[in-house]
């Protein structure tokens, strides 16, 4: 393998330093554990939660910003240059600054939400905004220079625009706690949830899936006709949400937006399932069971949203939609992360002067197994607790989720230690 290592040196320009990428992932996993702890404290108020400062809001943002967005930043900044033949920004300080500002910002924002301290929340929101705008610049630079990946690029630009709306509405919502809202709360909330969950995270996840899923499964790229239809419908859906939320279009078209989004997502999932089915590598293990569960939860979230839009929420607890959307994204992302971490670790190890370890050699399977069962049990219990309004079920869910988060942390640390051994 000496030959492999000799020319991999030329690829270093497309790899961020391992310590930098893994610092993002480590922070995400720390916030992951903190989110379950916050959920434990949120238990008494969670079943009837409809908004406002407190532990439920803190737990939610520890997951959304701390885990989902943190991981999305690291993954997009690393994988896009690898896939698109680009060298990175020569200096690494922008990546360091994004991580620092974002980590401190999320910690302050969530602490401010948990203890109901608007000033701390506001300071955290500003730091998060700074980090996300700098990240947006780095992502846009990568997208602008990317070649030969039209589908991923279109998803990426949609994610960029969604991020702008996510940040803007987030600032408005945070400002509302200091009596300085820019937008009407309901409008801001609708746009914040839509463009955060489906716009930014959803578009990034779908875009990268078109590369990662066929790559892991060793299958052909999905048919362009269907993937183009999926992304077009997704963008139309997001545009309809925006235009109905700001009263440019009548509110009744909101249901059309949800339906278009649902069809876009179902086409995407069908393409991914086809890729998995036709791939040379079958049996991708528990990681892809998590991915499939994530897809299922996200698909159901569209129908819950539709039910709400048709004013039939009486039997549906308010948190159900949030758990399906955020829990679905989290489950999907953790499944992918359990593949990406050893994959990236192996690529980084290969830049050394020795035979590179394989991803499977860097994977600690037992912690992943513990995480798998704990995570699924935690989410099922959380859904049951919301449907039954039972506080102890929320607490049990939080404890199981914490066990899973810690197990995932062990998997991550093991991959790092084996990579650097």
């Amino acid at each position: 393998m000496a030959g492999v290592n000799a020319f991999l040196g030329g690829a270093k320009g497309r790899l961020l330093p391992a310590a930098l990428v893994f610092r993002y992932f480590a922070s995400a996993l720390l916030f992951h554990a903190l989110a379950w702890i916050a959920l434990f404290f949120a238990a008494p108020t969670l079943p009837g939660f409809v908004g406002g400062l407190g532990w439920p809001l803190a737990a939610l943002h520890l997951v959304t910003l701390g885990v989902l967005v943190m991981t999305a930043i690291a993954t997009s900044l690393q994988l896009l240059p690898v896939a698109s033949r680009q060298t990175l920004v020569p200096s690494h300080w922008p990546y360091d600054l994004v991580w620092l500002a974002f980590t401190i910002g999320v910690a302050a924002l969530c602490a401010g939400m948990a203890i109901a301290l608007p000033a701390l929340l506001g300071a955290g929101a500003l730091a998060v905004t700074l980090a996300l705008l700098l990240y947006l610049f780095l992502l846009a630079r990568n997208l602008y220079g990317a070649r030969g990946m039209r589908l991923v690029i279109v998803h990426g630009w949609a994610a960029c625009l969604s991020l702008l709306l996510l940040v803007g509405t987030g600032l408005s919502l945070a400002g509302a706690y200091s009596a300085a809202p820019v937008l009407d709360r309901q409008t801001a909330l609708t746009l914040h949830v839509t463009f955060g969950g489906y716009g930014f995270m959803g578009m990034l996840v779908m875009g990268f899936s078109y590369i990662l899923v066929p790559m892991f499964a060793l299958s052909d790229n999905p048919a362009p006709r269907w993937s183009n239809l999926s992304v077009t419908l997704a963008i139309v859906a997001l545009a309809l949400v925006l235009l109905t939320a700001v009263d440019v279009l009548p509110p009744r078209l909101f249901a059309l937006a949800i339906a278009a989004g649902a069809v876009a997502f179902l086409i995407h999932v069908a393409l991914m399932l086809q890729a998995l089915h036709n791939g040379m590598r079958q049996g991708l293990g528990k990681s892809f069971v998590l991915v499939r569960l994530g897809w299922a939860a996200l698909a159901v979230s569209f129908f819950v949203a539709l039910a709400w839009d048709y004013q039939t929420p009486s039997a549906l607890p308010p948190g159900l939609f949030v758990v399906l959307l955020i829990g679905g994204l989290l489950t999907l992302l953790l499944g992918v992360l359990s593949r990406i971490v050893p994959f990236l670790a192996s690529m980084h190890a290969a830049t050394g002067m020795r035979r590179p370890p394989t991803p499977s050699g860097l994977t600690a399977q037992r912690p992943l197994d513990i995480h798998f069962y704990s995570h699924i049990a935690a989410l099922v219990l959380l859904l049951l607790s919301l449907l039954s309004g039972t506080v102890w079920l929320v607490r049990t869910s939080a404890l199981l989720g914490l066990v899973g988060a810690l197990a995932f942390g062990v998997f991550f640390v093991t991959a790092w230690r084996r990579m650097t051994a």
Binding site: M1, G3, V4, A6, F7, L8, G10, A11, R14, L15, V82, A83, R85, G148, M149, R150, L151, I211, L212, P214, M215, L218, S219, D220, N221, M280, F343, S346, M347, A350, R355, P356, T358, P359, S360
Partner: protein, 89 residues
């Protein structure tokens, strides 16, 4: 320096004196990666494979190592990243 013109179709493979060649320039990721692995899996005899690529295919190396293959960069046309893949013995 301008890139040399590509005369083969993306995904095309052919036999030559130095081994089986595969042209993956112009394919959308991860198709180059998948096509190379598919070619390796389909070869009745583990002859050398010459890959005509437009980039350093980072994810490929682990997959090769798992199959007992190794890769070496060799001289190619301008703008090309040419690799010679061979089975380890």
């Amino acid at each position: 320096m301008t890139d040399a013109p590509i005369t083969r179709q993306p995904g095309e493979h052919w036999n030559d004196a130095d081994g089986v060649h595969i042209e993956v320039r112009g394919l959308v990721p991860p198709a180059p990666f998948v096509q190379i692995i598919r070619l390796i899996e389909s070869l009745p005899v583990a002859s050398a494979i010459i890959v005509h690529h437009d980039r350093d295919p980072l994810p490929l190396y682990d997959e090769l190592a798992q199959r007992g293959w190794s890769a070496r960069r060799i001289e190619g046309d301008a703008g090309e990243f040419r690799l010679r893949l061979a089975k380890d013995f």
